[in-house]
């Protein structure tokens, strides 16, 4: 029956019917909420009452004038710093594991292992490792002779807690970045290296002039993910410290979620979300600009 129609008609039917549900899902759970979010951000809706009083730009004004809200971004900064270090370490291991080496595969498998582990379980695992009195990290530090470090309260010290949490993220995602860098290294044609060798390039020169420039697009992608990831951190502090001590590890997204669900201030939370979305887009645009100015590729 369907098969007797002309291929042109079939094509139209297939396109429409195959895309209908997937696009409906995309619209319902991604674009519609995004549009709703913009609307909510101009109201001071509490999340349940039927009327949503229009307040114009008040929420945005509130976000920008309340220093408490933007201050939490300084907590996100730790994740950004660790993210950069994470990428550098990942590139290092990717280069090392792409060279001639025994047990290459075994090392790859081990270093990637944390990525597939359950995030909540990992968070609790580190909660135990970081524990001040019972924790294994302090015990380990004590055993290797760093006695003064062994008293540190990793999750209870204000300036330190975000770096402790971010290092958990580092532990989990370094291997993921590494595998992606390894793949991009494999895509570099081998003859470039041979030509460089003939021209007498040293290994450092090869790395600096050939390997890194060829990895540029992937490095850019990972940096984008690092920056946006740092802006959007949520689950680690949420599970491990609940934002403590005294709000020192609260991140921006956690503040958004609290504003909405704990304080029933959907309007303000929406405005905060929109502002975050803007930051993400700005990061993307700046990167595109820098990338295109760089010229090659």
């Amino acid at each position: 029956m369907f098969g007797t129609l002309s291929y042109n008609k079939q094509k139209t039917i297939i396109i429409v019917s195959f895309l209908l549900i997937p696009l409906l899902l995309l619209a319902t759970f991604t674009y519609y909420p995004a549009i709703k979010l913009v609307y909510y951000s101009f109201t001071n809706w509490d999340g349940y009452s039927p009327e949503k009083p229009w307040v114009g730009l008040d929420n945005y004004r509130e976000v920008f004038s309340n220093p408490d809200i933007f201050k939490v971004f300084t907590h996100n900064f730790a994740y950004f710093v660790m993210g950069i270090v994470q990428n550098i370490v990942a590139i290092y291991f990717a280069v090392v594991l792409s060279s001639k080496l025994r047990g290459k595969n075994a090392f790859r498998i081990m270093l990637f292992l944390p990525y597939i582990m359950n995030g909540v379980a990992v968070a609790f695992m580190f909660g135990y490792v970081f524990d001040t009195t019972n924790g294994s990290l302090n015990l380990f530090l004590d055993n290797i002779g760093l006695h003064h470090l062994a008293q540190t309260s990793w999750l209870g010290t204000e300036g330190l807690v975000n770096y402790s949490l971010a290092s958990t993220g580092f532990w989990r995602f370094m291997g993921y970045n590494m595998v992606i860098y390894i793949a991009s290294l494999q895509a570099i044609p081998k003859d470039i290296y041979e030509a460089a060798k003939i021209d007498g390039a040293g290994s450092f020169q090869t790395l600096w002039r050939i390997t890194l420039p060829n990895m540029k697009p992937v490095i850019q992608l990972n940096l984008f993910l690092t920056v946006t990831g740092a802006l959007e951190v949520f689950d680690l502090p949420f599970v491990l410290t609940k934002g403590g001590p005294a709000g020192a590890s609260e991140t921006y997204v956690q503040k958004v979620v609290d504003t909405a669900f704990a304080f029933n201030n959907y309007g303000l939370a929406s405005a905060m979300s929109i502002i975050l979305l803007f930051f993400v887009v700005i990061v993307l645009l700046v990167q595109q600009l820098v990338l295109n100015r760089g010229g090659d590729k």
């Binding site: 297939i14 995004a34 081990m110 270093l111 909540v120 695992m125 959007e232």
Partner: protein
Amino acid sequence: MAHTKFRLVDFIKYITLLIGVFVVLFPPYVVIVNAFKSTDEFNSSSSMALPKSFLNFDNFTAVFQRGGLLSGFGNVLVIIIITLTLNILFGTMVAYVLGRFSFKLKPVVFGAYLVATIIPSITTQVATFGIIKNMGLYNTLGAPIVLYIGADVIQIILYLQFIRNIPFDLDESAMVEGASLFKIYRSIIFPLLTPATATLLILKTISIYNDMYIPYLYIPKQSLGVVTTILMRFQGVNSGEWNLICAAILLILLPTVILYFFLQRYIFEGVTSGAVK
């Protein structure tokens, strides 16, 4: 001279790799050794010491009895099976349309999937929450399922790469024999996408199994707990009893770690072909 320098570089490589492996294995090691200790033994021994016996399964049975972990595994399994069946279906359908036909709105459809990835999904939850409530799916397994089944851009890119490698001659010869376009999808494209589907099955299974946020927010009901939310509740009730919590952590990590060691090749493949175009 050149010889010794070469050796030094190798030495540094191995040392750094070993440090890396040590850092990776240290936290799981601590969890493993303590999961087998009784409370007395736990309190009297160092947190890095090996347990008296690796055959003390008391903590694990306690976790199963007290934590309701079994129903957690059951719930997440139901979610994974239903989600992935539909997700694979939708993913291949979108990829078939985008990979085989040209039509005016094609760039728009692809672009819509692409742009969707830069919208941080956590921030739109405020609005998504309302939709789920209005659909009557709040506190049912339907909520995570509808939120997970949509195809994402990485999945579509992965399928598109595979579809490009399926020769169009196959479609044409099927058309010569009078096969409908639906039949071509069902009996040529879909089966030939199996390797990509297998990779996706593994990756999506891991990511759904590990997700905390959606179950936490949308299915808070006790009986609908999945492994992550059950672990959170368990920790809340038993905080301080680290030997028990270690056993719970270990039980939850185990399935994906086993899966990983058997299937790491496919996992690497999926991760890289999605990210490196």
